[in-house]
């Protein structure tokens, strides 16, 4: 089997300030990997480097492209990378405003991604958009409303629909449940869990919430000060943490 994503020696500095360093891992098709760690530990930096939002200073990010197998995404041309970002990849931002077009209708937000990959038939696009609104539990009757009119949880679900409608193979998520009420979080998590299982998605999910990784992630990477301090099977890292920082992290939350 070919890995979906292979990361080798990835590092990123902001001037002289360390973002993240020495990150290597292999993600296999269908795997969901969680990344946890304290604030400022480099999680978002890593995710943004993986997703091509920001060039790392060192290392390689190899992705299993549909036609040419494993390729270093950093050596791709900008249009190639943009095409990947629209087709095989998806990125769910913590703040739905960063991932949605706020002055475009809900249906338009979902249809937009379809059109970016070449869909032209208005009726088909609208039908698919409406189907996806249903999947993320947004009443199809609200298809013409702008996301502004939606609650935070609905906006986040809309962002997920917009991202998944084109059938990506790899989804990056940065704190997808952050900033939401606990009850809204639970609903979103259940939805994400269902979608991940149903479509056999591979995903890299950054979160500070250990309950989220317990529920969604097969594997877990723990970061501190820009470095990975521990990684492994999610329940092994949470139930039998080896590193001092991981032990502290796990023991400082109520049972997860």
């Amino acid at each position: 089997m070919t890995p979906l994503l292979k990361v080798e020696g990835l590092g990123k500095f902001y001037g002289r300030h360390l973002g993240c360093a020495d990150i290597s891992f292999t993600l296999w098709p269908g795997e969901v990997m969680g990344i946890v760690g304290e604030s400022g530990s480099g999680k978002s930096t890593l995710l943004n480097c993986l997703a091509g939002h920001m060039p790392p200073d060192t290392g390689r990010v190899m992705f299993d492209t549909r036609d040419q197998g494993l390729r270093d995404t950093l050596e791709m041309s900008e249009p190639e990378r943009r095409w990947l970002a629209r087709t095989d990849w998806a990125f769910v931002h913590q703040n739905p405003r960063d991932g949605l077009r706020m002055n475009v209708s809900a249906g338009g937000n979902v249809g937009d991604r379809l059109m970016a990959v070449g869909a032209r038939h208005y009726g088909d696009i609208r039908r698919q958009a409406s189907d996806w609104l249903g999947r993320v539990e947004i009443d199809a009757g609200r298809i013409d409303e702008r996301p502004r009119a939606f609650s935070g949880g609905m906006q986040q679900r809309l962002q997920i629909a917009r991202n998944l409608v084109t059938g990506p193979r790899l989804v990056f998520m940065d704190e997808p449940t952050g900033g939401l009420d606990v009850s809204v979080q639970a609903r979103l998590l259940d939805l994400l869990r269902g979608l991940v299982r149903h479509f056999g998605l591979s995903a890299v999910i950054v979160t500070h919430d250990l309950a989220v990784v317990r529920l969604l992630a097969d594997r877990l990477m723990v970061m501190k000060d820009g470095h990975v301090v521990e990684e492994g099977l999610t329940d092994q890292v949470l139930d039998d943490p080896q590193d001092a920082y991981t032990q502290l992290l796990v023991s400082s939350v109520l049972q997860v």
Partner: protein
């Protein structure tokens, strides 16, 4: 089955030389050696009980076999797969296809109805939803979970109800290897009898089962042998 040729000694669970210690970094780096030289074997169709006093290491050994505790030393092979040092994806594949586990307590997932909780292992193997749900219903009925509860999340269920949901989930698949941690605790005698029947049926179809049962009668009813984990306790330096 094709994997049997890969198995040494004919056991579906083969453990040898297993050692385990916990290092508590945030409590002065205390080192707790809890296991040394653990060895056992469970053949298809056999049920083996882990026994030993509280704190002797029964659950620890079982968790190392499930893979949520890391094995520091030795070898743990389940259905031919080495678990010590295994990659996450090997453990995930083993859990999806060969290894079932009834944990002591159900881990409830908010909002997921009981029927889906129970059907999930079948769905993960790709069985059609309708078939998976049909099996889940049959098992829930057999375990006397009232039908009105099936569409609810087990979050609000009683301890015994949650445990029976957990058992239904554990027995929904014909796993070749099963781990049972106190499956009959907190059950009344009627439900206990159902669980013992389920275990006997699993043995009859050839499952290799390793269990922890505080209830000696349950042990006598379904287990062929006992392994006392006290024998795997490391020599402790009592002067320290």
């Amino acid at each position: 089955m094709s994997i049997s040729c890969k198995m040494k000694g004919g056991g579906m669970i083969e453990i040898s030389g297993v050692g385990k210690r916990f290092v508590l970094h945030n409590q002065g780096g205390v080192v707790l050696p809890v296991m040394e030289g653990a060895a056992l074997s469970v053949r298809p169709g056999e049920c083996v009980a882990l026994v030993g006093a509280s704190g002797a290491g029964k659950s620890t050994l079982m968790r190392m076999i499930w893979g949520n505790y890391r094995c520091d030393q030795g070898s743990i092979r389940v259905a031919g797969v080495e678990l010590c040092g295994a990659e996450p994806r090997d453990v995930i594949a083993l859990r999806r296809n060969r290894l079932g586990y009834v944990s002591q307590f159900l881990r409830v997932i908010p909002r997921v109805p009981t029927l889906r909780v129970v059907a999930e292992p079948l769905r993960a193997q790709g069985l059609a939803e309708a078939d998976a749900l049909a099996r889940a219903r049959a098992l829930l009925a057999r375990l006397n979970i009232p039908q009105r509860l099936w569409s609810l999340s087990p979050t609000t269920f009683s301890g015994g109800e949650q445990q029976r949901v957990n058992i239904a989930r554990g027995f929904i698949l014909d796993w070749p290897v099963m781990l049972l941690d106190e499956p009959t605790a907190s059950l009344d005698s009627a439900n206990r009898a159902v669980v013992l029947d389920l275990i006997a049926e699993a043995k009859a179809r050839g499952a290799a089962i390793l269990g922890i049962f505080h209830d000696a009668d349950a042990r006598a009813a379904v287990c062929d042998r006992e392994v006392d984990v006290t024998g795997f306790t490391p020599a402790r330096d009592l002067s320290a």
